[in-house]
Point group: D2
Chain length 456, copies 4
Amino acid sequence: MIFERIKSEGLAHISYVIGSENEAVVIDPRRDCKVYADIARREGMKIKYILETHRNEDYVVGSRELEDITEADIYHGPGIDFKYGNTLQDDQEIFIGSLRITALHTPGHTDESMSYALADLNAGDETIMVFTGDALFIGDVGRTDLYGPDEAPRLASDLYDSIFNRILPLGDEVILHPAHGAGSMCGGAISEREYSTLGLERLQNPVLQKTAKDEFIRYKVEEKLEFPPYFKKMEQYNLEGPPLLHSLPVPELFSPGEFREEMEKATVVVDTRMPHSFGGAHIKDSYSIWLEGLPSFAGWVLPYDKQILLVMEDKEQLESAVRYLIRLGYDNIAGFLNGGIGAWYIDAMPVDSFNLISVHDLRDKLVKGENLFILDVRSKEEWENGHIQGAAHIYVGHVEENLDKIPEDCRIVVYCGTGRRSNIAASILRKHGYDRIYNVLGSMKAWKNAGYEVVE
Amino acid sequence: MIFERIKSEGLAHISYVIGSENEAVVIDPRRDCKVYADIARREGMKIKYILETHRNEDYVVGSRELEDITEADIYHGPGIDFKYGNTLQDDQEIFIGSLRITALHTPGHTDESMSYALADLNAGDETIMVFTGDALFIGDVGRTDLYGPDEAPRLASDLYDSIFNRILPLGDEVILHPAHGAGSMCGGAISEREYSTLGLERLQNPVLQKTAKDEFIRYKVEEKLEFPPYFKKMEQYNLEGPPLLHSLPVPELFSPGEFREEMEKATVVVDTRMPHSFGGAHIKDSYSIWLEGLPSFAGWVLPYDKQILLVMEDKEQLESAVRYLIRLGYDNIAGFLNGGIGAWYIDAMPVDSFNLISVHDLRDKLVKGENLFILDVRSKEEWENGHIQGAAHIYVGHVEENLDKIPEDCRIVVYCGTGRRSNIAASILRKHGYDRIYNVLGSMKAWKNAGYEVVE
Amino acid sequence: MIFERIKSEGLAHISYVIGSENEAVVIDPRRDCKVYADIARREGMKIKYILETHRNEDYVVGSRELEDITEADIYHGPGIDFKYGNTLQDDQEIFIGSLRITALHTPGHTDESMSYALADLNAGDETIMVFTGDALFIGDVGRTDLYGPDEAPRLASDLYDSIFNRILPLGDEVILHPAHGAGSMCGGAISEREYSTLGLERLQNPVLQKTAKDEFIRYKVEEKLEFPPYFKKMEQYNLEGPPLLHSLPVPELFSPGEFREEMEKATVVVDTRMPHSFGGAHIKDSYSIWLEGLPSFAGWVLPYDKQILLVMEDKEQLESAVRYLIRLGYDNIAGFLNGGIGAWYIDAMPVDSFNLISVHDLRDKLVKGENLFILDVRSKEEWENGHIQGAAHIYVGHVEENLDKIPEDCRIVVYCGTGRRSNIAASILRKHGYDRIYNVLGSMKAWKNAGYEVVE
Amino acid sequence: MIFERIKSEGLAHISYVIGSENEAVVIDPRRDCKVYADIARREGMKIKYILETHRNEDYVVGSRELEDITEADIYHGPGIDFKYGNTLQDDQEIFIGSLRITALHTPGHTDESMSYALADLNAGDETIMVFTGDALFIGDVGRTDLYGPDEAPRLASDLYDSIFNRILPLGDEVILHPAHGAGSMCGGAISEREYSTLGLERLQNPVLQKTAKDEFIRYKVEEKLEFPPYFKKMEQYNLEGPPLLHSLPVPELFSPGEFREEMEKATVVVDTRMPHSFGGAHIKDSYSIWLEGLPSFAGWVLPYDKQILLVMEDKEQLESAVRYLIRLGYDNIAGFLNGGIGAWYIDAMPVDSFNLISVHDLRDKLVKGENLFILDVRSKEEWENGHIQGAAHIYVGHVEENLDKIPEDCRIVVYCGTGRRSNIAASILRKHGYDRIYNVLGSMKAWKNAGYEVVE
């Protein structure tokens, strides 16, 4: 038996390859799916099945892409009219080599959500692992708000049943393999730990301590999670089957002059450098989203109907940037700036900048009583756990639609947890003409490390 | 929390790096230990502790080597006079970042064997993983015969207590991380599966079904496992602390002429090619041990007081060969044949050969009643599970000391499971002057696949 | 200015990337052409031109493939009706960055052959390098027999003029970059050295010492070079523009059972292992061509209308094998044997073998006067420089069509230079039912190294 | 014959491996010399000789380091009392395989400078390549000012004789391989082109157009080149034999807190990020030298008696930084900041910054007549070729010793060619308390690209 976890950073999406005796199955493949075929080939195996745990909302599923380069069949759960693949029924069994995979219908996150219980018949009939998709995570459970507030109580009730009556009864000893790790937007508080069992979750998962069904439902219904606009696009893609890529797009390299010409067209510029590099010099009207932030934040700010132009610290980052974007369905990556921001300013192209400010300097300004509009762009939960006195709160994903709440006639100080999300917000404000922007280096983490006061 | 399994092929030895908040611990490091330092550096962590589960008998432990390139402290179990490192007491606790590691004294495989129970205090006080060394494997338990037959009952009794009274009570939900996987000589029937929990072992591990202590002890005392001669060397090394290597040895490249000169000195030639390549042409008097077989079989045939000369299919295999050998304490690798066997015969150096025979041809000869001495060199257990009618049995590791049982005046047909161990035996016989040797391609596996008869 | 030589092993084909100020040109690209795009991208350059020196006969040119993934235009020489690209005139100039490339019509190898003289205008107007295609090599000149014996005198005369009146007058100081290195079938005796100048060739190239035109022509007309059958296919491809691959084919992995089924179809099996591995055990009716021998010998023995099945020493060699084959237009690679020959015989599939014999044993047999048919399969030139007394000569490429000259009723001993080409021949004989075949390990090299006698 | 150029970036130092028939020679190895041993091993060769062209002044030669891991002997030129290796005489010959290397005494850059003429005896007796060290470059000749102004005329005279009477007479057709490419401080105007011949230099090299000896000497004596302080250290090292490293130093990783503690000791902080990243936030009192600038500029600003602490954009750059530093003899690299500048400011450590200004904004300020001190830190030659009106000139390497010429009471605008050297200067000024510093993004290149005026 072989078993591999493939983790896609940023989205914290986890897919799995399981194989036995020259046959393999892939669970929830990502769109850049050569990795699975390579593993199978290395092991001398053929991928026979592609199993989806549910119609994902946070990334483009790679099932059809993988089907295209293998002989595998796609399977997903019942009750939704997928335009591709086959439907599994509850308790249906699939066999590869000496392994048995049992499909368990575990709705709650979505109606068609499936879990997959794996037994190694060489060792015994007992389930050894369960793949729970977005039903049960390590340290959290799946969100139940995707169908809107009206449906949330029903979904929460379903999820309770799925977890307490289908999954946990498989046994404390069963190893847990969810579809996401820490950082995903499919759960609020997924643990950074990557290994767990049903027994450990039963004992340690805070949500599973709510063993009374009504308490569980109440908790879930009251949960407040962000809903990025690109989710709608993903749901449509993953219902109908997304367009096939066949291979990673290879964006063109543009000289500064060509890049500037492309900017005249229906394009949007994304600069993937870190805040301390972006602040000092960047192309006017570009969005700042640091490289590893693309999976989580591109879907908030980038439109699907414009071509994307990239500015990077280093050309070597292009492949990562492309992977991050196509996983979200941004296939229109026109090109990147050859030579980066250095080539841009050497060609005397117009640069823009805003200020980076240390927490100490911010503190000084506050003590002096300078006139500042302090904007906290973290999540509601982070905000509620403590913020800087006098700050206003708008989540980074909602800044662009709430500009009317941000004054233009004073200095704007933006902060988040470490200064990266606030840099996105700062770039949005700059793009909209705000000209006295300060991003706080280190933001709340540095503020607390400096021992400065927070209020709740 | 980071967690990495480092598997050393062949020995099926598994070591672990666990880290939290810039601190890391390594359990049972191997001798070529740069891998651990590289992981720690990649994660921005410092290795603070090196934990040994026991004085290993099957490989050179890398604790001192790793201590030399880090600031880590070495710890091992009580009751044996290690010449390096520090002694842990039962129930002693170690902390790194948010993790707590509790030392459990679990004798049985050896007297000083320790297990290590890990808790993630961020998630709760419960044990989430246990590192059991050679006490409990997936699908088997540690051998209890290392101190000889007189001590075996006592060790088996200790092991029973360690497993049933210390380890299993940690809980079904605890993830199991042993020191070996399938293929190790430290257990007889370790599973190929790499993931398990205490609950799964309780349910599926065949030895753990012997819940009555006397039954468990009887089973262990009757167990027959091979004891390679190099174990003694390893025990001495791992008690006193093995010599430091600082870096991998870089064997010299020898032209055929130089190689032949080296052969005149106190050297031994090891040819790491596959049987179908070795049979047709090899250097006279060389041992055949296929590359991946070095970890398991070098310790049976290679002396420690001679320099080793290597012949390989491909120069690229040199690093693997060197790693395999130094893990067993064979530090004296003089060099390798530049250009391999092809360079040797192009220089008109003397070559030797023996025959490769298919199972079909062997069957024909048997049916015709040809005069053959058929030698089965598999383990006793494999032999007892079925062999070719009329064969004699000598384990590959014992062939060189039992030549008197092998006739010189007839054709010798050697077989094992697939033809690789029998090639070792064939090379030994050839070295000792036997001149009508046949190695069976595919051996017992092919014999059975062809549908030919076996007897028990 | 950047300059890179891309050498394709086996064919000894050399292509070039030259770039200046964000623009690049590629000369004679190979079919697996991603390498050029990667270099250009790494340097921040765009490939603007693809220059062909001539319609190649020994490999599939990659111009159209490269054109497909870049914005480059293809150019080749005049006087032949290419179905793609543009035609250059003699003395036409192309500019990239600060470089000037002047096209020189240098017929002789073929009528449309071009050379390209490069000047770096930043340094001066003088030619610094010349790319001579198959007109002038290091140590040899291009063959002039491709249009048949009737045209050879005319082509030789043209080549004389091209070299002595167009190329050498560029100046002794000009660096020479031909389209092939040692080992190519486009010249008889190309040097292994990779660096030269026109002055060095004028002084050292043996053919250029024939400064009298009639002597030069006589020498070329009398030259005897082999003409592999696949040349015809290449000429057609490179005239019409070969089919586009878009990416490397990914052959399927076949289990021994599936492989055997595929063998029933219109397929041919190629085993790329070394002779000492192939001799001992191989699949019946397979061709032996060692991996690095594929570029030179696949075109002699493999048909274009059958699917190719591969057997390799190591799965890692697949990509090389595929590259070698598609460069010759063998796009129909059905798959490879999963697990190699070991998996085959473990599944008890039928194996075949023939004998490997050392030069010492061969000498013994000859001294004893055993009845042997000794077959030398080297080139005519090698044969004439000395062979084993009593041997017959048939070039390896002609063995399959000359079986009537090889007796079936005695032992056949095959030799070549080192034992690899003779292994091809041995596999052909075996395939045709000869059953007492001996391949000589080390062949003529070993024979001479042993000090045994050769006759001329 | 094998031939490889090993180019060490930054220093633009070029070393060579030449091999034939299992023997190899290395010319001017660098200190991190494993690369040569790896090439030799890959080719199945032994390095027999290490040839030095001269006692280098700009890097630590790796001869002793390479001697230590091979069996090679070191050779250098006559007339200077080297404390290691052997002395060659003029016209002495060395043979490896079929190659002959003739030592030519070619003083001028230094008294003991040697060139090495290579002939391939298989092809003929003529010289095919010459390795000229620092005597003759592509597009320039070696500097003759290392012994001071009094000796310069004598050295220039020697160099003239070496080039015109020893090297050029070898023949126009000879391929030229110097010890440096463009960017080296050992010649003023070495071409970016990497390939040349003696004939091409005779025709195109500007200095070689001065064929009258007195004109040549006058030109060389008037030449003004910078002399970095670390040259003295290199000369001493390369005379006595530098200390052996055995392997690359592995700097420790420091948390921000530990890093700050290290800063209290005898240390100096070097930040290798690009100007647009450094300007916005950096550790107070750190030097800015961008990564690829280390080989050229570390030797100007870093002392040898302090430990070095590194701040990098990315941990992956550590190996390059270490290589660059040890090549200059900076073996005391204490450690690097774990997590980079981001970790620093998240821990609320004190950050510093200065302004980045575009050429457009600078122009605006000038037009408005703002009070600015404009400092040009380029070389004298660049300055003389055109600078911004009103600027003052101090070479970047001399800024720290000329602070008295820079006013403290006004804004200081620093520029160079592209903004990287000026960032070094800006960091030096900041370190010395200047607090209104502006570095010009794109500097003179951008200024010119914008079409703004320069004066001479």
